[in-house]
């Protein structure tokens, strides 16, 4: 899958109209300079050779150099990646928690007000533009209430002393710096709620319908017939069996999450690879754009493998 995306990105960025060199140097550059640059960038070689070089470079971890900062793209990406990871993880946690609890209880009380509200919630919140929701939260919690900051990952001088993971929240804990932890969390809350709530709309619906299905199966009745407590029946029997299809969906939704992350990062000036991508696009920095898209592709591929592994762990039938 990664290979296909790489290929598509390659062709999109090379074959489509728009000479990247001209974009870099400006339309007034003398043709000889343009030619020299093209040669230096390897753009005058036949397409096939360029393609192979491109693949070889990526395999080596060489994503090219940014035309704006002249630093290796891969370095810039890795520097900003932890921020995106932090946002993604926390948003996912929020989305999953809302999805599982709201969805499961709604399924259990089928037809009740809770259930109806869950269905309305999933359709309504799904229609929220992530960036609009973020702006509204900024308005309410940042401007009106002054409770939370509205941009950035941290306040000045409030970064962890020692970098273990790159995730400010984790590093702050590992460093024992509680003031940094508080500051990081304050900055993290709004963006992750923004993204998490919007994504949760899908999860609520998925969990609800799968748990409804599981609750009507024979083994749930059989479990009740053995005297098992309702709560156990709901969570260990119904929900756990409903999980495999839910997990697969959650894995697929990860792609949606990443798209939303880009928008969220821009809205909150969150220094991740999403906002990096957008700023590079405005700067016409093609190597960086290409590198970032490739990076996203690899990230998504890794996550899908992870989801498959988790699925096998939960459902023994998959393993055999």
């Amino acid at each position: 899958m990664v290979l296909i995306i790489l290929t598509i990105v390659f062709f999109v960025l090379r074959v489509l109209p728009g000479n990247p060199v001209l974009a870099m140097l400006g339309p007034k550059a003398p043709p000889s300079v343009v030619k020299a640059m093209e040669h230096q960038m390897g753009l005058d070689k036949p397409i096939i050779v360029q393609y192979v070089d491109y693949l070889k470079d990526i395999a080596r971890g060489d994503f090219g150099r940014s035309t704006v900062t002249s630093r290796p793209v891969i370095k810039e990406l890795l520097q900003r990646f932890p921020a995106t990871l932090e946002l993604t993880i926390f948003s996912m946690i929020i989305a999953v928690l809302i999805g599982i609890f709201y969805g499961t209880y709604a399924a259990y009380h089928l037809g009740s007000l809770l259930d109806v509200s869950a269905r309305i919630y999933s359709i309504f919140v799904y229609s929220f533009p992530v960036f609009w929701f973020g702006l509204m939260l900024q308005l309410i919690f940042g401007v009106w209430l002054h409770w939370l900051p509205v941009s950035g990952e941290s306040s000045p001088f409030m970064t962890p002393d020692h970098t273990y993971t790159g995730l400010y929240v984790v590093d702050a804990i590992l460093n024992g710096q509680w003031d940094v932890l508080k500051d990081s969390l304050e900055h993290l809350i709004l963006p992750s709620i923004t993204l998490g709530v919007v994504i949760s709309s899908i999860f609520v619906r998925m969990v609800r319908s799968n748990v409804v299905l599981a609750l009507s199966s024979q083994f749930v009745t059989a479990a009740r017939a053995r005297g098992v407590k309702e709560k156990t029946v709901l969570f260990r029997h119904a929900l756990k069996n409903a999980l495999p299809p839910i997990l697969t969906i959650m894995g697929l939704q990860f792609a949606l999450l990443l798209g939303g992350a880009v928008l969220t990062e821009v809205t909150f000036s969150w220094p991740g690879i999403g906002s990096y991508l957008v700023s590079r696009i405005h700067a016409r920095d093609f190597p960086a754009i290409q590198g970032t898209v490739v990076f996203f592709a690899i990230f998504v591929a890794i996550i899908s493998i992870l989801v498959d592994v988790i699925n096998a762990w939960i459902d023994p039938r998959v393993r055999y």
Binding site: V12, G18, L110, G111, Y126, S127, L135, V212, L263
Partner: protein
Amino acid sequence: MSERFTNQMITSRFSAFLKNLLGDASGAMAFAGFVILTIFILMAIFAPWIAPYSPVKPSGNPLMPPSWHHLMGTDNMGYDVFSRFIWGSRMALIIAFIATFIAASVGIPIGLAVGYIGGPIDRVITMIMDSIYTFPGLILAIAIAAVLGPGIINISLSIAVVYIPTYYRVIRSQVASVKSELYVESAYSIGAPTPTIIFRYILPNVLPSIIVVLSMNIADAIMTEAGLSFLGLGITPPTPDWGYDLANGQQFLISNDWWMAFFPGVAIILIVLGFSMFAEGLNEYFNPNIGEKR
């Protein structure tokens, strides 16, 4: 005589259908969605007549909060937000429709053909389509839009590419299942030529799900377009566009000038709701979920 009778039959059957539809929860949802999306389509078509002011010419002092003169206030250029609200529907709908049209025109035929032929071509193309499908759509659209540049057609194309696999998959799976149905086999055995089989037998059975997918897709496309414009990759200002207005409105939040960011978002929510309620409702009405008490 029989013509009038047929007409009567059609209208009474139609009204019976409507009554049934409205009585059912999902049917009512589909209907409500239909009403909303129709309102927006009409809004887009009749924008010049409905909007009180021009969306691209200042009609008042800038940054004025909502008032009777300007129901949704004015933005930093003095444009009436309400008028931009109305005119914005044009951009959203035009791009969404074009993008969906392109995606469907490419995805459906390929899906039909590949689904029918099967074999190694099926595997290869499906693999390609699946890769695009699982990759974050917005990021792909961003990347393509970055290369193509602004403009209605370009943006529509960027969005279309993201959704081609959607149509491909739906059609292909439907074709695969319909293909093995008995009536197709019998058509085949009486020597019906391939195109006939595809168009007369397979396609009509595959059509209903297309409407649902189309509607859902338009909702997604509108959202993606808004996202692109928000990021500055969409149409050029000062064309009225909800996504762009949202981005523009962000800087004024801090001074509590909230209406520029609020109303365009509401527009997006409503129109997306309309299309998705229509799709959802229709889908559940025609294939109700098992396990739900009916």
